[in-house]
């Protein structure tokens, strides 16, 4: 069983990080990012053509992370593969030793670097979770018995600050009913909104890992607000970064404050360093999470 899963299920406060596989075959930079994050992370998400832009596959990169002795969270989007490919990649993931899964919808191709591509979306994220749960129970989508089942620790994404809330709440409950055991959220800026989401997750018996974004510059804030789906930086936060003498330092301080606050509400934090990977150990340490 995955150690990450053990920690989460035992109620320990976990830390997850995130890496993007390269556009190409040179893994040097990716390995360096893993080396930076690994000492303070219980698991590292490996994104799947993130931003609808071409990268080496999450499947291969997750295996590389595992071989480095670090536990990956294999991300799978619904954008690029139909139900046959999704299922066969899930089976592949399990045989490669990947035990943690994050099932997400995926950004639309129109927002990525191949805007002419056909968005597949043969399944949506809820249905993909149902498929993975079926695999755990030993059968495929058609109900046929698998020769060798899986035992994925199934996660999903969540955006606790997006309104209307009643619909987000319904989605959280549907995903848990479908088989989700843990959520990783978009960046948390409003702790009250995070708390109401956490209440729903906990009431349904699942766990929630709160997203922490490292805002390294005013430019990064603008980029996030204009380009990244599901991430919105509030004006007060943006003003704080923009008005700082050392924006990167301010971003690290902000992330540290958010991480510390999430200790009271969440089951862990998911740090999205946006290139400032080197600051992650300090954030985790100064938030009082790991010594």
């Amino acid at each position: 069983m995955s150690r990450f899963r053990e920690l989460v299920e035992a109620g320990s406060f976990v830390v997850t990080g995130e890496i993007a596989p390269p556009l190409g075959t040179d893994l040097t930079a990716m390995r360096a990012a893993v080396d930076l994050l690994a000492p303070v992370c219980d698991a590292i998400n490996v994104t799947d053509n993130q931003g609808a832009s071409l990268h080496l596959s999450s499947l291969a990169a997750s295996r590389v992370v595992l071989e480095m002795g670090v536990e990956p969270i294999f991300q799978q989007t619904c954008r690029d593969r139909n139900r046959l490919a999704l299922q066969s990649d899930l089976l592949a993931a399990w045989t490669l030793g990947l035990t943690n899964l994050l099932a997400v919808t995926g950004d639309d191709p129109r927002s990525g670097d191949h805007p002419e591509a056909k968005g597949v979306f043969d399944l949506d994220s809820t249905q993909l979770v149902q498929v993975a749960r079926g695999f755990n129970e030993g059968h495929d989508m058609k109900g046929r018995e698998l020769r060798g089942a899986t035992d994925f620790f199934i996660g999903a994404a969540m955006f606790p600050e997006a309104e209307p809330w009643d619909m987000q709440q319904a989605r959280i409950e549907e995903k848990i009913a479908a088989g989700v055991r843990f959520f990783q959220t978009q960046a948390v800026f409003d702790l009250d909104k995070f708390a109401r989401a956490a209440d729903v997750v906990h009431a349904a018996g699942a766990k929630v890992i709160g997203g922490v974004l490292v805002l390294r510059s005013a430019r990064a804030v603008r980029f996030i607000n204009e380009r990244l789906a599901g991430l919105m930086v509030p004006e007060t936060i943006a003003a704080r970064i923009e008005g700082a003498d050392d924006a990167a330092e301010e971003g690290v301080l902000l992330a540290t404050e958010q991480a510390r606050a999430l200790r009271e509400l969440a089951d862990g934090i998911h740090i999205m360093p946006l290139g400032l990977d080197s600051a992650v150990p300090r954030i985790v340490r100064e938030a009082g999470i790991k010594s």
């Binding site: 139900r83 919808t105 994404a157 309104e163 619909m167 989605r171 549907e174």
Partner: protein
């Protein structure tokens, strides 16, 4: 109705040049392309003028009732047989179905003058919106009469996805999230509590090419309708 838009004119000219066509017959459509103002009489006459301005000869033109109706199109072709015969090519200002019907009924090369874009609702005169993709596996009973397959840009059956913000879609600016609209209407109708995730879609219901034969003697052996 089928919504069409004009194909890039330079491309149409290039198509005719590839065919070595200097003499052209033009066919429009009296149904959808007339309403969409892409292949009715005014548009056919405008195309005629443009071709003539470019030095081509237009041997004749027609706007039949419904260009995708094979029987009607055969009559139309017969009516204009001489004009078509004396042309090098036929330019069709109709949807792709219409272009193929014309191609089936004459021997001259046929070339499209429009792009076929979607099955459209006429929201008001001159405003068309896509609401149905003719998927063959309707979910409107479960989605309060709003089709997520068509009106969610990702075609997700269950949503909203992670990009929804303040009820708006992340992919298409100014578009309300379909899944928010569906859930809101279901709630207004007192049906929210019974919402269950929709199962994956059965794409075998939409095997191409579709064919339906409702003539009494063929009932019960309809091809293409995979039900």
């Amino acid at each position: 109705m089928i919504i069409t838009r004009p194909r890039d004119w330079e491309r149409v000219r290039a198509q005719l040049a590839d065919l070595g066509a200097t003499r052209v017959f033009i066919t429009g459509c009296g149904e959808c392309a007339t309403i969409a103002q892409t292949g009715g009489e005014p548009e056919v006459l405008a195309a005629k003028q443009r071709l003539e301005d470019a030095g081509l000869v237009v041997t004749g033109w027609s706007v039949g009732d419904v260009t995708c109706n094979a029987g009607g199109q055969r009559l139309e072709a017969r009516k204009h047989a001489g004009e078509i015969e004396s042309a090098d090519a036929v330019l069709v200002l109709a949807c792709g179905a219409g272009v193929q019907t014309v191609a089936d009924t004459i021997t001259k090369p046929v070339t499209p003058g429009l792009e076929s874009v979607f099955l459209g609702n006429v929201v008001r005169q001159g405003v068309f919106e896509e609401r149905c993709q003719m998927c063959g596996d309707c979910v409107l009973d479960r989605t309060a009469g709003i089709c997520p397959v068509t009106t969610c840009p990702k075609g997700l059956l269950n949503g909203p996805c992670g990009g929804m913000w303040n009820g708006m879609c992340e992919v298409v600016a100014d578009l309300e999230c379909t899944h928010v609209l569906i859930r809101r209407r279901l709630a207004e109708q007192g049906r929210a509590a019974k919402v269950e995730p929709l199962p994956p879609k059965d794409y075998s219901k939409k095997l191409k090419p579709g064919k339906v034969d409702i003539r009494p003697k063929y009932r019960g052996r309809t091809a293409g309708d995979a039900s």
